[in-house]
């Protein structure tokens, strides 16, 4: 199963790209998807507590279970306006 993962703002700079496809196993959560990204890019790990996630363009809890084809974004604190 595969998710499209997007990074924005500061997190995009740290991830080194705006998006990537990440493989996951059935039943995994957004939290586990973040851990997979952080295992590829350890610099992401410290940001787990200071970002929120969205799933298919809606804010989503870390415990949300993924489905194949989901679009997940990791969003640092927003600063529009």
């Amino acid at each position: 199963m595969q998710a499209r993962v997007l990074f924005f703002g500061k997190l995009k700079d740290i991830a080194g790209s705006a998006e990537r496809c990440v493989e996951f196993r059935s039943g995994e959560t957004i939290s586990e998807l973040f851990e997979r990204c952080a295992s590829q890019k350890p610099e992401l790990a410290p940001f787990r507590s200071s970002v929120v996630a969205s799933r298919n363009q809606e804010f989503a809890p870390w415990t949300a279970v993924l489905e194949s084809g989901d679009e997940v974004a990791f969003l640092p604190p927003v600063s529009g306006g």
């Binding site: 924005f8 804010f59 870390w62 279970v65 194949s68 927003v78 306006g81």
Partner: protein
């Protein structure tokens, strides 16, 4: 003669790189049955935390941001006795003094328009996925922001579209 019930003005929500046409947004919300239009003009300041700002760059998760802006506009109608809502946010490079966000709210009476406009900008700054990078003489930083509140965990999540 009776006056027909006013038809609601459709909300106008914009996210783009072109300069914001504030006059058009005001005209959009201002109807004959309104007694007030309150606007918020968010503009690029020439300093941040004591440093001189050269310019800003805004980026966004555009598909989600436009939906969140529409949700804010819709929520204003349920929270306040207002008529029309227009919300525009700019992306890309903005120079000092340019408008980055503009909100116009019309209402039959001013209090609802003031309250709704304030609520709209406060909510936008907390929940719309837009990020601002500040450029200085000696470098650039992503601006400090607010972490959007997360929904409570539920087993029924929205499927992929």
């Amino acid at each position: 003669m009776t006056t027909a019930a006013p038809s609601p003005t459709a909300d106008l929500v914009q996210l783009g790189r072109e300069p914001i046409a504030a006059d058009a947004l005001i005209r959009h919300v201002r109807q004959a049955h309104d007694g007030a239009v309150v606007t918020f003009d968010g503009c690029v300041r020439n300093h941040s935390h004591g440093r001189a700002t050269l310019y800003l760059e805004y980026e966004s998760y555009e598909s989600m941001a436009i939906e969140k802006m529409k949700e804010i506009a819709a929520s204003l109608h349920t929270l306040f006795a207002i008529d029309g809502v227009a919300i525009a946010h700019r992306l890309g490079r903005l120079e000092i003094g340019e408008t980055s966000v503009f909100i116009a709210v019309s209402a039959p009476h001013r209090k609802a328009a003031f309250d709704a406009c304030r609520h709209a900008i406060d909510t936008l700054k907390k929940t719309v996925p837009i990020w601002k990078k500040e450029f200085f003489e000696d470098g650039a930083v992503w601006a400090d922001g607010e972490l959007p509140p997360l929904p409570a965990a539920t087993p029924a999540a929205k499927p992929a579209s």
